[in-house]
Symmetry: C2
Subunit: 225 residues, 2 copies
């Protein structure tokens, strides 16, 4: 494979991981919309779309592995391909979280609507921005943006912590709403996990761009071998 051809293949890999990201983001959007509208048809769509996300994950993985096998990539390309393989796994799990949310909405749909002290759509909108920014930091190789994703995760953890406190107080005050409050808490946790995946992606971008592993606050640079 020529060097030019190899770089075309890397572009194709980038294209495919972005398509994968689009599918995962759409799944979360649909699941949150299903929550807001208590719409079982939207839940069904999330469940129906999942096998396609899983298939896309396998295809991206195989494409990446073929690239590794066919060409001995230079350090920076090697790290890029490894970042894609890791990002790919995170995106597939974002899809799993969308399924978890949809299943929880299906559970709630049988119960009377209740005003719960948690703003799921607002939380979802922040989490969605994190996923989008993580992907954009990847496309543009923008480590500053990736670092802002890491900071945003602390904010999501704080929101989730507040939701936990408010919903547990609500359960004590109105035991009748306990089951629905638990469902809402599950959904908040699922969104927190989506945010965790966005964080993982941002860490992988920094790892790729800087050739340095900033995970867990380690600042040392690693010489490309």
């Amino acid at each position: 494979m020529t060097r030019i051809r190899f770089h075309q293949e890397l572009d194709e890999l980038k294209h495919r991981i972005l398509a994968m990201a689009g599918m995962a983001e759409q799944a979360v959007d649909l699941a949150v919309q299903a929550y807001s509208q208590r719409d079982l048809a939207l839940c069904e769509r999330v469940l129906t779309n999942e096998p396609g996300i899983n298939r896309a994950e396998r295809e991206v993985d195989e494409f990446a592995i073929d690239l590794l096998a066919m060409q001995q990539p230079m350090a920076v390309d090697l790290r890029f391909i490894l970042a894609v393989i890791k990002i790919n796994a995170d995106l597939e799990r974002v899809g799993d979280q969308a399924v978890n949310i949809a299943q929880r909405v299906m559970h709630m749909a049988g119960m009377p609507a209740f005003e719960l002290p948690v703003d799921i759509p607002a939380m979802a909108s922040r989490v969605r921005a994190m996923v989008r920014d993580a992907l954009r930091s990847f496309i543009e190789g923008d480590t500053e943006l990736a670092k802002r994703v890491l900071e945003a995760d602390d904010e999501i953890d704080r929101i989730n912590h507040e939701a936990f406190a408010a919903l547990s107080a609500c359960m004590q005050a109105k035991p009748d709403c306990a089951v629905q409050a638990l469902d809402a808490l599950s959904i908040a946790r699922n969104l927190e996990r989506v945010a965790d995946h966005a964080t993982n992606i941002a860490e992988d971008v920094i790892f790729w761009v800087r050739g340095a592993d900033v995970r867990h606050g380690a600042g040392q640079t690693i010489a490309g071998s």
Copy 2:
């Protein structure tokens, strides 16, 4: 690097990922023991040990990447190294779950002990067996054992589902125990996530040994390239 030397390096990589697994497993053990004994000193140990797990993750990753960079591995070795990189990320997140459990135990420790309708140590013991079997399937290249780990995950999901039902009923019946029941539910969920990581590891073992991707039930084999 000679072929013999390369295989020595692969053995060293295997040795290091096993050491990493030992640290992650120990963290979960300590956290569950902290829960059973409401022991804050054990919680502290889990928190103190976490940076060491994170450091071990980075070292395994760099060792694996150096191997990929220095030698163009054959398909089976390439997949082995990629499996190690993925397993490594899962083990680090097992360590994160242990920290989450320890933090929840610290939250519970301030409240009066309450008989909760969930057997956390029993659940932990099953999850622990899954992690151990996933690692053993990796060392021995035993895909049958890996498949049994996948089956065990369904059982954990079922137990967690039952815990959810029992604890939400308990919250409705005794609002005073709501906060502690929520803590126990969080711990059950953390254990479920550890089981998910064991499942991911088992899938990676099958991917490596068979060169086939059985994730999401896909049975097709992939020609080594």
